[in-house]
């Protein structure tokens, strides 16, 4: 049995805005085992990043952790003193962000920044830290690491910057690395390099990873376990193979079928989830997903909302219906065209001819360019 590294219990993080209280994270419970890779997926605004920031106690104003516990090796992060939390960040848990350009200091040399991350924690003296920087950059496959340490971030390419960020994250040998959309800003070939690197580091250093992403394919290639979040809650959780093979929550099911697969020859319509995620200051009653759910029943529309229930081995889902009770035919409904035939017919009527010379030549192309 793997040892539990991080245990988040009933976490609530709320933002107190002039428009009301936004429940960004609304009662989230999960754990990360030592050496494990956990994927957290969901759309923007579902609370996945705020959950990560809560773990590091970096929630920006006007947000606050209002209740819940975050236990790291049994010690509650929410109760740590400022000094303890400084030691905890970077030393125990490190985070890498989506955009490596905005998270690196543009006026400090890359090597210096990595060195700073080490000496700040007083785990390494300057003398030890300097050669270690080069070693770390080599480990994350930055070519010519000896000379690149003296470069500034703008001299690095996007992929290289993300490598430098990972090197910095690993510099104090944390037990948990939180990666928030680490490859979203990168090209596919570079993304593949970064994924390979993260897999390798996980294997070699046994660093646990929490990968936050909206990219299902990334989770499939990197993670062992997966958490699906919607409107500040966990709606489904389980081992990655099981979730992909038999998702039970309609949201998970829709997410999986809304992305085209590069290895699929058929040109089927994609499942599109109608509408948009709810406004978290005024969430809908009942199941938070019900206004967008293709399999909604009356029970879903009223409180109390469904709880996370066991639906398989190590798999839990928050749904009254569950996909295994949904008939094959009715899943087709989610794929139907919503195009207004009437509007299309009207628009097909020939439009008036071009008024010759009416418009000056200077205006050419404005219609196209907007």
């Amino acid at each position: 049995m793997a040892q539990t590294l991080l245990q988040v219990e009933d976490l609530h993080t709320q933002f107190f805005t002039s428009r009301g209280v936004v429940r960004a994270v609304d009662g989230v419970t999960f754990h990360v085992d030592a050496g494990e890779t956990l994927g957290v997926v969901g759309e923007s605004g579902c609370g996945k990043t705020i959950t990560a920031l809560s773990i590091l106690r970096l929630v920006p104003d006007p947000g606050r952790i209002t209740s819940g516990r975050i236990l790291f090796r049994g010690k509650d992060v929410t109760k740590m003193t400022d000094e303890e939390i400084r030691d905890f960040r970077g030393n125990d848990v490190a985070m890498i962000f989506q955009d490596p350009m905005t998270s690196l200091n543009p006026v400090t040399k890359v090597g210096m920044q990595i060195e700073e991350a080490m000496t700040a924690h007083e785990r390494f003296t300057e003398k030890v830290a300097r050669p270690r920087v080069i070693e770390l950059l080599k480990r994350v496959r930055v070519p010519a690491a000896e000379s690149r340490v003296k470069d500034y971030p703008h001299q690095f390419s996007g992929g290289m910057r993300q490598r430098a960020m990972i090197a910095m994250g690993l510099s104090n040998e944390p037990d948990l690395l939180i990666a928030d959309e680490p490859t979203t800003a990168l090209d596919v070939t570079v993304q593949a390099q970064i994924i390979q690197l993260m897999k390798q580091l996980n294997r070699e250093l046994n660093t646990a990873m929490m990968l936050i992403t909206h990219n299902m394919a990334l989770v499939a290639s990197l993670c062992q376990r997966i958490i699906v979040m919607y409107a500040g809650r966990i709606v489904e959780e389980g081992p990655v193979e099981q979730i992909f093979r038999s998702p039970q929550h309609p949201y998970t099911w829709s997410l999986l079928r809304s992305v085209p697969r590069v290895d699929e020859a058929r040109k089927d319509r994609l499942v599109s989830i109608k509408g948009m995620p709810p406004d978290l200051s005024h969430p809908p009653p009942g199941c938070k997903f019900h206004p967008r759910c293709p399999f909604v029943i009356d029970k879903c529309k009223v409180d109390p909302e469904p709880q996370l229930e066991e639906v398989g081995v190590d798999q839990v889902a928050r749904c009254w219906v569950l996909m295994r009770n949904v008939k094959e035919e009715s899943t087709e409904v989610a794929k139907q065209s919503a195009l207004s035939k009437e509007a299309a017919e009207k628009l097909k009527a020939p439009v008036g001819e071009l008024g010759a010379g009416e418009v000056g030549a200077g205006e050419v192309g404005r219609g196209a360019g907007g």
């Binding site: 499939a220 997410l255 992305v259 919503a338 020939p350 010759a356």
Partner: protein, 322 residues
């Protein structure tokens, strides 16, 4: 054949006295057939967006010709050019930057109709409402401003604008990459429905190969200003002939953990070189897993020739030999 791009170059001078230039598009030949969707893929900086802007005439070419339905758009001027232009429209990547924040949605959609003097004012107003209805928005939203809409809704407005003048050809430049996954599917489905309904021809540009494969009939792969391979959507996936295509395809993770376990992506060395000074011979040779260097790959530029399946062309000395 609707669009034929032949020997098109676009060089952007970078200043200085050396006569250096970013060779964004460096000798591209491409055909787009009537009613099809041609997918154009490649890493950032490979010149795919520049090519799109050349085809729609938003940028002048340095050399070469672009023939749209029998007329060379790089040569014609004035009213004739305007008539051609009305038939080609563009949908942009960033729905936040491509809509004027100070114009109402009604004005945005009506502007192309005004520009081309289509119908009476009444007819234009009516048409704007039909357009909104068509793309799944409330037709009474004409007085709203772009900021009042979400990213997906804005992209719908961008699509409606492109459709307003009844074009036959639409260039979609990364139309879904700025959107959330569930919204991406909505827009992809909408684009497909519209194509069927209005017999549109699409040039679909994206770096997401899964989306491109889903939408396209044929796919062209660009690398450093050149097309390196073109083929049917399934052929290019089943038997890619160019090693770059193969690497590109293998680097895309599949949303299926069982499949992922058996896959080993070909990770390319390094990154895309500078288009100011592209490598000699085959431009891909410094990153190529099968290149013979020194040798033919670093000396001779391979031409785009038939390899593999019917209708498949690739620019590689050792096409298919990996």
């Amino acid at each position: 054949m609707l669009v034929r791009v032949s020997g098109v170059y676009k060089h952007f001078p970078v200043g200085g006295f050396g006569g250096l230039a970013v060779r964004a598009v460096d000798g591209v030949d491409l055909e787009i057939r009537r009613g099809e969707t041609l997918g154009l893929v490649g890493e950032s900086g490979c010149g795919k967006s520049t090519l799109a802007r050349l085809i729609t005439g938003l940028l002048p070419v340095t050399a070469g010709s672009i023939v749209f339905d029998g007329q060379d758009v790089t040569r014609i001027r004035g009213a004739r050019l305007r008539r051609v232009r009305r038939r080609m429209q563009m949908i942009f990547q960033d729905p936040f930057a491509s809509l004027d924040p100070r114009m109402t949605v009604g004005d945005i959609l009506q502007e192309p109709l005004d520009n081309f003097s289509i119908g009476t004012l009444r007819e234009r107003r009516k048409r704007v409402q039909e357009l909104l209805r068509l793309v799944g928005l409330n037709p009474n939203f004409t007085n709203r401003y772009p900021h009042e809409f979400s990213g997906g809704q804005r992209q719908r407005i961008g699509i409606a604008r492109a459709l307003s003048v009844n074009p036959s050809f639409i260039v979609c430049d990364e139309p879904v990459s700025a959107l959330d996954v569930s919204i991406q599917a909505q827009i992809i489905n909408l684009l497909q429905d519209l194509q069927r309904e209005f017999q549109l021809t699409y040039l679909f540009i994206a770096h997401d190969l899964a989306v491109v494969r889903h939408l396209s009939d044929r796919i062209a792969v660009m690398y450093l200003g050149k097309v390196v391979e073109t083929a049917d959507r399934n052929d290019i996936y089943d038997k890619p002939q160019h090693p770059y295509t193969k690497a590109l395809l293998s680097s895309i993770p599949v949303p299926d953990p069982m499949v992922e376990k058996g896959r080993a992506p070909i990770t390319l060395k390094g990154e895309i070189p500078s288009p100011v000074n592209p490598p000699s011979g085959c431009r891909f040779h410094p990153r190529c897993p099968i290149a013979r260097v020194p040798g033919v790959c670093s000396e001779v530029e391979p031409p785009l020739e038939p390899h593999g399946a019917v209708d498949q062309v690739a620019a590689c000395h050792f096409a298919g030999q990996f």
